[in-house]
Point group: C2
Amino acid sequence: MDPIIWLWLALAGGVLALALAVFYGRQVAEASPGNERMRELMGAIREGAMTFIKREYTAVAVFVVILAILILIFLDWGRPWGAVAYVFGAALSALAGFIGMRTATAANARTAEAAREGGVTKALPLAFRGGAVMGFTVAGLGLLGLALGYLFFEEILGDDNSFQIITAIGLGGSSIALFSRVGGGIYTKAADIGADLVGKVEAGIPEDDPRNPAVIADNVGDNVGDVAGMGADLFESYVGSLIAPIAFAAFAFSGFDFQDEAFFYPLMIATLGMGGSIIGSFFVKPGEGSLAAALHKGTWVAMSITIVGVAIFTPILFGSDVDGVDNAWGLVLAVVVGLVIGWLIGQISEWFTSDHFRIVKEVARQAQTGPATVALSGISEGMRSAAFSVVVAALGMAGAYWGGDLAFDHELAGIYGIAIAAIGVLSTLGITVSVDAYGPIADNAGGIAEMAHLPPEVREATDALDSLGNTTAAVAKGFAIASAAITALALFFTFRQAVVDAGGELPVLDILDIHVTVGLFIGAMFPFLFAALTIQAVGRAANRMIEEVRRQFREIPGLLQGEKDVRPDSARAVDISTAAALREMMIPGALAVALPLVVGFISVRALGGVLAGALLTGFLLAIFMANAGGAWDNAKKFIESGAFGGKGSDSHKAAVVGDTIGDPFKDTSGPAMNIVIKVMTIVSLIFASAFV
Amino acid sequence: MDPIIWLWLALAGGVLALALAVFYGRQVAEASPGNERMRELMGAIREGAMTFIKREYTAVAVFVVILAILILIFLDWGRPWGAVAYVFGAALSALAGFIGMRTATAANARTAEAAREGGVTKALPLAFRGGAVMGFTVAGLGLLGLALGYLFFEEILGDDNSFQIITAIGLGGSSIALFSRVGGGIYTKAADIGADLVGKVEAGIPEDDPRNPAVIADNVGDNVGDVAGMGADLFESYVGSLIAPIAFAAFAFSGFDFQDEAFFYPLMIATLGMGGSIIGSFFVKPGEGSLAAALHKGTWVAMSITIVGVAIFTPILFGSDVDGVDNAWGLVLAVVVGLVIGWLIGQISEWFTSDHFRIVKEVARQAQTGPATVALSGISEGMRSAAFSVVVAALGMAGAYWGGDLAFDHELAGIYGIAIAAIGVLSTLGITVSVDAYGPIADNAGGIAEMAHLPPEVREATDALDSLGNTTAAVAKGFAIASAAITALALFFTFRQAVVDAGGELPVLDILDIHVTVGLFIGAMFPFLFAALTIQAVGRAANRMIEEVRRQFREIPGLLQGEKDVRPDSARAVDISTAAALREMMIPGALAVALPLVVGFISVRALGGVLAGALLTGFLLAIFMANAGGAWDNAKKFIESGAFGGKGSDSHKAAVVGDTIGDPFKDTSGPAMNIVIKVMTIVSLIFASAFV
């Protein structure tokens, strides 16, 4: 068949996904947002979130303009299309985060109300639909945006550099994602730590107590960090994974008969995955089984449909009339390997972070001998989980390479296989994000239930949803990290081809070439520096919040005593978090983009080393931090459920320390690391010709 | 001049250093060991330490025999010399640790007695002399052993593979060092944590209280971990750094006129450094200035003599009659770069871990908001220090490469320069170790003073010595880590040459070759796994100790009440630490040796990736863990000195948590990492021909 049909199908798939998002969005909007107090709280959270995101996008816009100008200046394509594509990608990414957050901040009170009306059975579908708006917006905009870019730059304009231009869409997404993750991560943890340390620990009032001025900011944080930040993040992962094989095929396969097929194959996988996700989303409803079963069912349906579709259409696309194709089933293997890597790394995350397994219980048990042993236990388990995940990823990459190698008669075919595996991981993004994004909605719903003094069984229902959300989020994080590492590797290979294509001497990147060696060291240290900077940023931002909450407790008469009609100045706390997050995100974010640019203009070989080094340690730190944080969080929850002395015991206090250490690990530094390794590679790829 | 003269001078230097060790040892032996109780305590510590080291060496002997047999089987040199050299190196390394520890366990009570008699002024020289026995034994055995090996295998036997055989001496040292560091590190921290958690925290008795059954074990731990472990470690660093350029010259420079000079140049630098160290050691005496000034003076004198000597003799050795030498000053540059890297990384360590600087004070300040913020602060500062140190090392390597490149007309000359820089770091090892090893002696002296109920001013004097020892130890650790990374890199380059020499295809190690890529990931994850395993080993061993101390407090009547003539069963506590450490050291230690062997027999290119990956993350984790641990330790001491509420305050409790997290970081996992990255490379280098 003519492979271009998959371009049209991809456009259709993108539109369909967006239509589904609108459909789910309507369903959310139609539900009742509850009583006046709940609507008021929802309004405050939404207003804070919108204010933050507007100010964040304004600040990032400056950065986007600077990079767009650099693209205009240094990439002598003689046409503005690179910069246009870059801004287009940035706009889509921002839009994905914005829409997801708007829906999430509308779904929170409605989920609480649904829980009040009909318990978990009624609340789960609503929270899931809120998450699904995000999921299908992200995936839909990603697929549609990329297909449109392809259509416009390649098919209509027919530009010589169309594939580098399309890559710029990915860089646009990455830019927004980087700052959203870092800024949102700082915001949410500053508010969280500030609310907890002064409220729970110093003043001794419960979590989400309406007297606490930082509680609204904490709930805003869930939305700007876990929803908008994650939305932009996954948008860029998805687009990045689709771009990697397309760009690689452009450089490596030119002149080969199967190049066209290799261009459209990523769109085919994504389209099939989108179809699977759309169908799968209708299977998420609480039936006889557990809540987890309902969510898992949707994911399994989506995956099965995708695999079957890929198995059917891959041999058709790479039909017998295409020269140079040895065995198209090798590509099916690569897709399946990708799905398996994602699933396995997700399983490892679950194994290390869910209190259904031995490890979290062991971390909790260490709380009996105090905070130091909890901390050491979480750190060592996090490191162990990183080691296991990396082994899985490394072996998986070898498998995907083998699959690609089987497929084509081309010496670089294996790398195409690796790039295809990354799409395999993310093909069912629509449903994966839906499942992930529902967590913060349930979390917020619980906060609103508490603040609006709803009956305790409502809180219990939302807590059940929230706890499940923690586990599904860990699995989704596994997917995101696995795809990030594989995509970064594929982009890295593409970078080399781009340098070769531009006439640079980079046929090999010899580890033992001194440029490369020095680059490896510099690159390897960067994720450590980035982690240090973001942890410290959270610390500083949290300190400002702590001071503000203390000040309000001290200066607003009757607040702490809970007198009627005395309300804290929540807006001020929101404002402090916003200002601190925006200030603190700038340096680490800008460094990640500047480092490859600076090194690249000095030595392209050194830049190769930098990218490899950063990929290695960034991948390890991302998993280490995510899983250590998750293990501490759930160890604390495990103790709260009554183990080792339960709530209020010394063990619990020790576990809370672990959880607080884990906060910036799992919600700020760790997730940002995914984007850092990709943003560095994609910047290098785009500027490759300028470096040479 | 005939370069072989430096072989004879090296032999003489080694003998002279050993003579100096005997001289200092006599001086220690002549001092009074104090009253009966002090002698009794000294005896108990010495007996515990000797028991441990004998059982440790017995256990490691099995491992040494296995590896010796593997060398015999796989290296088809047809002669047993490789295995002989390996056992020789292992024996020397064990001997160095043994002698150092014997002296340290004799110097502790004598230092306490000297402090009683004459305060700091009398105690410092004695503690330093105790350390110097260790310092000059390690350096003397290293230089003498290597020179003897050279003489025997190359000059007398004239074996074809003499340089690979000499390399086996290094592997022998590394084997002992690896297990000594891991086993000693587990021992000392299990005893330390056990003594502190039950004694100080649960029972509320002071540190080093004679009622605590784990106190003797804790003091034993200082000797087996900080003295014997470090001695074996630095022996292997020193020998490794000397072997790297010799082996590299053997493979890369064969047929070149300057090969002979390149062989003997490392011995020349080491000999000059030894001379400088010997002279410098006589400058260590408390004069008008501070204690630190006295120690620093010795180091500066040694360094100055070394640099001047190198500047004079390098141009003479590489005289105008040697073909292919462009500019011998390039090598002087490499030596100086090495010294500067070591000094700078030491300075960074001091900056991050001494309470004279801002960072430790900031970590201490974070204790005011509880243990979580202390933990985060230490982690982020540790990561930052690793990033800075790696940048210094990377730029230094580039400088040393440039120096080597200037020196010879040979495309691989730059790598020789890197190897020479590693010797530069370690050339003044004699005095560096002396300064480092005096710390645990002072620490032990304080313990004995406490347990023997000496007047408080004695403890104050030993505390002053101990506190200074913490800082000098941090600087020495910086040296050790810097040298480890550079030596490992030089050995890694040599490994490639060895593979090429053996007829293997490894002209380049392309990062983007899938074998290498997968290897990089596997290698990069190994230090994370190793850190996790060793942290957990300390945790398990400490738990056993905690249970034993609790049992004794419970079951021995009158012990906790301090009744006269009721003594704890210290021997049993020592036995528990010993057994636990020996059991726990086996798996992580054996893994570090097995991983390169297994990978190497599968794919040499993958092994190249493994070595590079492990070097990158091992280096980063080693510095991260050492400096985070040091910062926490001194933040706690800073608070104990009265800041932020002082001893017993909530801030202090939070800081103690940080210190405990740091214990396995800085004394078990971190220091072992240095050896891991070298042991992996040196195993690969020796088995290179077997892999091909």
